[in-house]
């Protein structure tokens, strides 16, 4: 554990991400104000002692909304990475093991998904399925499948060539057992690294979709949504945009640095895939 903190990226990323996670955890139990309660008297305020990050056009407390929004962002990050990992790793392992036709089919499918501009397709998916947080997560998660499939295939193929696989076969361990107990543990660290980075990307993507009104729906707090609402009041109260924007930048930077730091520490030899 100590060696991780020798890495500056990791340390900074860890601290930044930890703040986000703590804010989310705290907001589940307590926020300064009810994040959705309107208060017409305190509309469009700048930072003050009562409202450290100001209020929005309905007089809702921005700090409370940013805190609640972090839960939203973390859920999106977790769910999308989970979708990408389960399906992507599965497909990647199949691709690496069987090769030939299965490999061709899966990799061309991955190319196909990559071929679409991600944001446009996410917009397409959410407009077909209807705008909601669940559909936004689905749309982002689908784009993570090829990312993890390619990575898994690349690293798993290398592992299959290694000698301890032959030794495991010589011990009579089934191919499925080898995949599960010998190949998978050996590719965990690149997956963890990529997962952390994709987590950051998901936060950004969800903010983008919510900004466009295709993600989280009102009255639920979401950073992207808050940016959208702040747009109208940019002249009168720019604070409304600054704090959600900062929250997005902070957490994306945090998880990205965390991912970079993990990569530097876990695998100095790894060539970054995509």
């Amino acid at each position: 554990m100590k060696r991780f903190f020798h890495n500056k990226n990791f340390t900074v990323g860890f601290v930044l991400s930890l703040v986000v996670v703590i804010a989310a955890a705290v907001s589940l139990l307590w926020t300064p104000y009810d994040a959705n309660r309107m208060n017409a008297r305190d509309r469009l305020q700048g930072p003050s002692w009562q409202h450290p990050l100001g209020t929005d056009q309905y007089g809702r407390d921005t700090l409370s909304r940013v805190m609640t929004g972090s839960v939203n962002s973390i859920i999106v990050g977790l769910v999308t990475v989970a979708i990408g990992l389960t399906l992507g790793v599965g497909l990647g392992l199949i691709s690496a093991y069987f090769g030939r036709l299965a490999d061709e089919a899966i990799m061309r499918f991955a190319d196909l998904l990559f071929g679409f501009p991600a944001v446009l397709t996410a917009i397409l998916i959410t407009s077909i399925l209807g705008p909601s947080m669940v559909n936004a997560m689905l749309a982002i998660g689908i784009f993570y499948i090829p990312v993890f499939a390619r990575l898994t295939r690349a690293v798993a193929m290398v592992v299959w060539e290694r000698e301890f696989i032959a030794a495991a076969r010589a011990c009579g361990i089934s191919e499925l057992g080898i995949t599960w107990r010998h190949v998978l543990p050996n590719i965990l660290s690149p997956l963890l690294i990529q997962g952390t980075i994709q987590f950051a990307v998901a936060i950004l993507a969800e903010a983008g979709l919510s900004y466009l009104g295709l993600g989280t729906q009102p009255p639920h707090a979401s950073w992207g949504r808050m940016l959208n609402e702040a747009q109208t009041f940019m002249d009168t109260n720019p604070w409304m945009a600054i704090f959600p924007g900062l929250a997005i930048a902070w957490s994306v930077l945090g998880f990205n640095l965390l991912g970079d730091g993990l990569r530097d520490t876990l695998d100095p030899k790894m060539v970054r895939v995509r």
Partner: protein, 335 residues
Amino acid sequence: MTACLLSIEELSVGFHTPEGTARAVDRVSFSLDKGETLGVVGESGCGKSVTSLSILGLIPSPPGTIESGCIRFEGRNLLELDPEALRRLRGREISMIFQEPMTSLNPVIAIGRQVAEPLMVHHGLSRSAALAQAGEWLDRVKIPAARRRLEDYPHQLSGGMRQRVMIAMAMVCRPKLLIADEPTTALDVSIQAQILSLMLDLKNEMGMSLLLITHNLGVVAQTAARVVVMYAGQVVEEASVVDLFDRPFHPYTQGLLRSMPQLGARRSGGGKRLKEIPGIVPAITETIAGCRFAPRCRHAFDHCRAKAPDLFSVGVGQRARCWLKHFPERRRSDA
């Protein structure tokens, strides 16, 4: 009379490459009795490892295919078994130890679990029961403080210790046959002897047979009762260890023996240099009409280059693939 455990008959294995089919193993036959130790000797690329991998059904296919022959283990032809039956045989009845202890263990799994895994797979033991047995086995292969080592990872062990772990892994299910492919080659000389004697002790204790694949005649002399010498995919000589060292028949075997350093040779032999065998092993994609060793053989004559010799009986239990059996007058005296 002891019963035959493994017999390989006329086994041929080919590898399809863009340059043509390479016959890595060409009509190889030999057999192994219960409790016997058989040494298979030859240079790199002579087909000894491919032979051992085909016993386990682990020839990568493609590009490899077993073209003909049969491998009988306790009367069953292993080449006719379905993959699942063959898998159940591996690690349970036939085990293998590989050359490189550094890379043959999974770097991210604790050694205890790696030793325990065959027990869980083949005997259906629970993890805790298997780990307990793994601890006993690590103790048996003389790893100090074995129980506390179960949680260690391979990088925490030295090469010799890792090879002990490999041996434990191969032996936990008490196989009837252990195939050791260059088990000591990657180790320090001082460790080699320890590992060999450990393997022999365990073999005798459990009454199993040992197929020892090596290029080191010294290792064979210490351990095996009978020796098969392979060259370019073929068996060129088979003899008991005593006969092989006392009366090697095939010029290749003689060459191997002469290229072996001997302690004290300088004093008794009048300071002779080691004799290497001239030339290199032919590429196995080449088709050679006559004897494959002819280009490097100092006794070779026209007949050798025209017609390939069979394995001729040249003594009690000794066979050699050499025309000198029928043309002894062609053998040149040692210069």
